[in-house]
C-alpha cells in the first residue's frame, strides 16, 4: 500500500511539473514583476546606472527586446543562449551576476519564469 501511494505521489508530482512547464508565461503578468523587483532600479532610462553603462532599458518589452549597446540580450526561444538568462543564472563571470551589488540573486522560481518566457518565444503577451 505504501509503495502504491508513493507511486501515485511521484506520478502526481511529475504531472504537476509537466503542467507547470507547459503553462504559457505572460510577459506582463509574470515577467514584469520579476524585472520590476530586481532590474528596474538600474535598467531604466534615463538615470539607471545599468542603462547608462550598457544602454539596456528594461522599461518595456520593446526596449528589452532591442537589447543593449552590444546587441540583443534575449534570443526568443533559446534561453540557453540568451544573455539575460546567462547573467541571472550566474553562467557568466561571477562579477557579472545579476542583479549586481548587495542584491540577492533571483529566486529559483523567478529564474525559471524568465527561462520559460524566453523559451516560449519571449512574447509581448
Amino acid at each position: 500500500m505504501n509503495g502504491y501511494c508513493a507511486l501515485l505521489g511521484i506520478l502526481a508530482a511529475a504531472w504537476m511539473a509537466a503542467c507547470t512547464a507547459s503553462l504559457p508565461v505572460s510577459f506582463h503578468r509574470d515577467v514584469v514583476p520579476v524585472l520590476e523587483a530586481n532590474c528596474f532600479t538600474c535598467h531604466t532610462a534615463p538615470e539607471g546606472e545599468g542603462y547608462r553603462k550598457t544602454g539596456l532599458n528594461m522599461a518595456s518589452w520593446e526596449t528589452l527586446i532591442q537589447g543593449s549597446l552590444y546587441g540583443p540580450v534575449i534570443v526568443p526561444g533559446d534561453s540557453r543562449h540568451s544573455v539575460l538568462n546567462m547573467l541571472v543564472e550566474g553562467r557568466a563571470d561571477g562579477s557579472l551576476r545579476m542583479p549586481h551589488g548587495a542584491d540577492e540573486p533571483l529566486s529559483d522560481a523567478d529564474i525559471e519564469t524568465l527561462r520559460r518566457w524566453v523559451d516560449q518565444g519571449a512574447k509581448n503577451n
Partner: protein, 240 residues
C-alpha cells in the same frame, strides 16, 4: 600568404576557407554575403578570412580593419569577464585564477548545433599580453575539450582605426563524424569568427564613444548610443 584578398563587407571572397569551388567554400562565401547584408555600411573591413582542417587540427586566420583606435580594440579584447559578448554560442564563461601571475585564465563553454551535428566544447585558456599589446592565448588541455590550442591577436594602428590579425590553431578532443564533421566544424568556425569580428568592432566603438562622448568622427559615429535593433546574427550576445 595564400589567396589574400581585400574586400569590404559589401563584397565576399570566393575562397573564404581555402576550399576553392567546394561546397564549404561556397557556403563560406554565402556566410560572408549574409554578414554583409546584415552589417551597417560603416562597419570595418574584412581583409582575409580562412579556415582549414588537416588531421583533426583546425587553423583559422582573420585579418581586418576596425574603425576604432587600437587602445579601444585592445580594451574590448581584454575585457575578459565579458568574453561572452564575442559570440552568441558561449553559454558559460568565467575568469579563473591562473597559476602564472602574468596570465589571465578564461574558461568558456560553447554549445552549438548545425543540422544534426552538435558540439559542446569547454576551453580553459591562459592569455598573456606582450609588451606590444598583442595577445597570446594557450589552451590548457587537461581542463578543456581540446587536445591543444593556441591563438594570437595582433593589433596595429591603421589610418582611421586599427589593423587586427587573429590566427588560431585548435585541436578539439571530441568525436567529429568523418567526412561531414570537419566541414561543419570549419563552417562554424568561419561563422563564429565573422560574428566575433563584427562584435569586436561594435565593442571597441562603444568604448570609444564612452571615452569621448562629445567626439565626432569615424571612430565614434558609426554606432550611436541608442541600442541596436538586432545583432548581426540575430542572436544574443550583448547585454551587460
Amino acid at each position: 600568404m595564400r589567396g589574400k584578398r581585400r574586400h569590404g563587407h559589401g563584397g565576399h571572397p570566393d575562397r573564404p576557407d581555402g576550399g576553392g569551388l567546394s561546397l564549404a567554400g561556397r557556403l563560406g562565401a554565402l556566410a560572408l554575403a549574409l554578414l554583409a547584408a546584415a552589417t551597417p555600411s560603416r562597419a570595418g573591413e574584412l581583409v582575409d578570412l580562412r579556415a582549414d582542417e588537416k588531421g583533426g587540427i583546425y587553423h583559422i586566420r582573420l585579418e581586418m580593419v576596425v574603425h576604432a583606435a587600437p587602445e579601444y580594440v585592445h580594451a574590448a579584447l581584454t575585457d575578459y569577464p565579458h568574453v561572452y559578448r564575442f559570440t552568441p554560442t558561449i553559454v558559460e564563461s568565467e575568469v579563473l585564477p591562473s597559476p602564472d601571475k602574468e596570465a589571465v585564465r578564461v574558461r568558456t563553454r560553447i554549445e552549438d548545433c548545425m543540422a544534426c551535428f552538435c558540439v559542446d566544447l569547454v576551453s580553459v585558456a591562459d592569455i598573456w599580453e606582450r609588451p606590444s599589446g598583442d595577445l597570446r592565448v594557450v589552451v590548457v588541455p587537461e581542463l578543456s575539450t581540446f587536445r591543444s590550442g593556441s591563438a594570437e591577436w595582433r593589433i596595429r594602428p591603421h589610418p582611421g582605426g586599427s589593423h587586427v590579425v587573429y590566427e588560431a590553431r585548435m585541436e578539439p578532443d571530441i568525436f567529429v563524424p568523418p567526412v561531414v564533421g570537419p566541414y561543419f566544424v570549419k563552417k562554424t568556425l568561419l561563422r563564429e569568427t565573422l560574428t566575433a569580428f563584427a562584435r569586436l568592432e561594435r565593442m571597441a566603438m562603444v568604448r570609444a564613444r564612452q571615452a569621448a562622448p562629445d567626439a565626432g568622427g569615424m571612430r565614434t559615429s558609426a554606432i550611436g548610443m541608442a541600442p541596436p535593433a538586432m545583432a548581426e546574427d540575430g542572436r544574443g550576445g550583448g547585454g551587460q
